[in-house]
Symmetry: C2
Subunit: 388 residues, 2 copies
């Protein structure tokens, strides 16, 4: 069986090409790892029931700047950040988007000068998330244009995207450009305790989050933004209004249920002082991620031809202990001289990955998802360990 | 009390401006009219339950060209079209979008030549749906550009949007441009039996539909496209992939439940030969729409200064009888010489409408929603009748 490990969304069409030769699994870089948790006791409390007559109106809250934001979803977003302490919420506007990809585009739309002669440059430190270039450029807008590595950028007007912890390499990032007229978007999809120690409460102008990476509910397509400036928040909301006339209420109710169940799990634990981590998503998921990283490092050691970024540790203010980070992706490099194109090399070994070239890096490195199903992950590490 | 009748999405920000002076209602042009139906017996069968562990993956059907399309939703779309007979489905690809606005943009993206020197012109017969220009231009794409009235267009390369029955004026439309290199998008949001007789089964290249106008579930944000050409369907799917990494599964499950309940209602009726229309959405809704049109025509007669498009009748192949059309919008004209700007005139009379200027028409005509709540509609016709 071939494992479609870390199949990118943009490679979806390739699936059909390979379908005849490869036996497909549904292990395409999804955060499906958390499914077992949601089949447990907490999962039951996250069950959503919507009667036939509900969620009919376009409007959720006509008095709100983001008129399609379900108040129950906003409440759970604020509750969760208050619990985890990863981002400031006081004085911030909460916006909802159809996943954080839509919010990323909304932020570009809001920050780009509407009347500039030339599109504003969008940059991010290499290796950058492979979806930033197509998300920026697929409609060939005159408002903004992908301009690559932030470190290579020379100029005062730009939008810098800071993904921290970084997708693909897990590093903690800060803005590298410092011009007064430049703007920043902080993509914090992975700034949750299962991936990295929560070392401080971030308070950037625009912070993007997504349910996909936080709880594993990617199919719900719900992200949120915390935005300091009212005018920017209004423009971002306007983007969602024009692009999709708001965001599905059903999806927001679902996300609210799921986020609420996470916070409830912790509050219940505190109230009852009961042991065990079965109801604590971040503890459960961190343990799982740590196991996988141990398995991956063992496989890399067994093979002998690969290397990974060094392990990083820090004090987590949420769990109150010193822990290593467990990034959602492994940034795997090959030390073997004759392997020029690591993605092809691994594909020949029945492992599908995403090449470094898609992240602005070289061919000798690939990104591998660490959040797939147990079965797919198991197949992957076994195959990797066997490569000499 | 002021009635925020037919408040446009793009005027949402105006709400806050007027909030101090106007008492708000939530009657903002929503298809909330159908809520009573969904509170009835059929509504119960449309209740959706989603357990905590469901809808986690990005993928719905990796073997499908539209990999994020829930098979259950596709099934219900095909069942409903088979029941109503308003559109051909054999040989068509079904695509799902975050409302039909997203599908409209997806169609522009798919039909626009990617390497043309100039953006392709997007046109529609005046009066055209007021959202087409901003949907086309808000990102200032180099791929396509709004070019106004189809009848005034001169050239061979274009994308013509045909909205039939037309929003805003309810007329039945066909393409007016006939160049071989031109492309058509058929927006059939209102081609359902409650609005117009189903005179034939349409079989255009791209046909757009939305749950919002069919069942009244606007907040779910689900639309679908029937697309003949495989390559066009792939490109449209690619748009949804890049713009929002697919479409919420929860929203699709919800839409599937609702559409399924509609078809079930009719199949059950046929099986049991039971009387009454309480379980038949289209019959219930048509009756309701017909009542409202009678009330509106009475109010227009009582006032004496307005006019409406003539009533149009036809044989409906679905209900097997001759019926008048009951458009979702009234295109109201003022005959009074001194009223230059009808929208302002009505606003001064505590009725909020959308000016003809937003539809490429003049200031002496406005669009009024016919699908709002009973309360709002009642206030509106009373106020209108009193204007002399």
């Amino acid at each position: 069986m071939y494992s479609f490990y870390e199949l990118s969304m943009t490679e979806t069409w390739q699936i059909s090409i390979y379908q005849d030769d490869f036996t497909m699994t549904e292990t395409c870089g999804d955060p499906t790892m958390f499914e077992t948790f949601w089949r447990g006791p907490i999962g039951e409390s996250a069950t959503l029931v919507i009667p036939g007559y509900q969620t009919m109106s376009y409007f959720s809250d006509v008095g709100n700047l983001c008129w399609f934001l379900e108040p129950g979803f906003e409440r759970e977003v604020r509750r969760l950040h208050r619990l985890v302490g990863n981002a400031a919420i006081e004085g911030y506007h909460v916006l909802v988007g159809t996943g954080s990809s839509q919010l990323f585009q909304a932020a570009l739309y809001a920050l780009a000068p509407p009347t500039a002669d030339a599109p504003v440059s969008v940059v991010s430190t290499t290796p950058f998330y492979s979806m930033y270039p197509p998300l920026t450029d697929f409609l060939n807008s005159r408002l903004y244009r992908w301009a690559g590595d932030a470190n290579a950028f020379d100029g005062d007007d730009y939008i810098e995207v800071i993904c921290s912890p970084s997708n693909p390499d897990g590093s903690i990032r800060e803005a590298v450009l410092k011009s007064k007229s430049g703007k920043d978007i902080h993509d914090l999809a992975y700034y949750w305790p299962q991936y990295t120690p929560i070392t401080r409460m971030l308070a950037h102008d625009i912070m993007l989050f997504t349910v996909s990476k936080c709880t594993g509910h990617a199919g719900t397509r719900i992200g949120w933004a915390l935005v300091k400036d009212k005018e920017v928040a209004q423009k971002m909301s306007k983007f969602m209004e024009q692009s999709t006339i708001g965001v599905s209420k059903d999806a927001q109710l679902r996300a609210a249920k799921v986020l609420g169940a996470v916070t409830d799990g912790y509050e219940h634990q505190l109230a009852t002082a009961a042991g065990g981590d079965a109801n604590l998503l971040f503890h459960y998921a961190r343990q799982k991620m740590a196991q996988r990283w141990r398995a991956l490092r063992a496989a890399v050691a067994a093979s002998g031809i690969f290397s990974l970024p060094d392990e990083v540790a820090g004090f987590c203010a949420f769990t109150k202990d010193t822990v290593t980070s467990n990034p959602a992706f492994a940034w795997l490099r090959c030390q073997k001289q004759e392997v020029e194109d690591l993605e092809s090399f691994l594909r020949a070994n029945k492992i599908i990955t995403r090449s470094g070239t898609k992240f602005g890096a070289d061919q000798k490195v690939v990104r591998i998802s660490m959040v797939d199903t147990d079965e797919a992950f198991g197949i992957f590490v076994n195959r990797l360990a066997a490569i000499k």
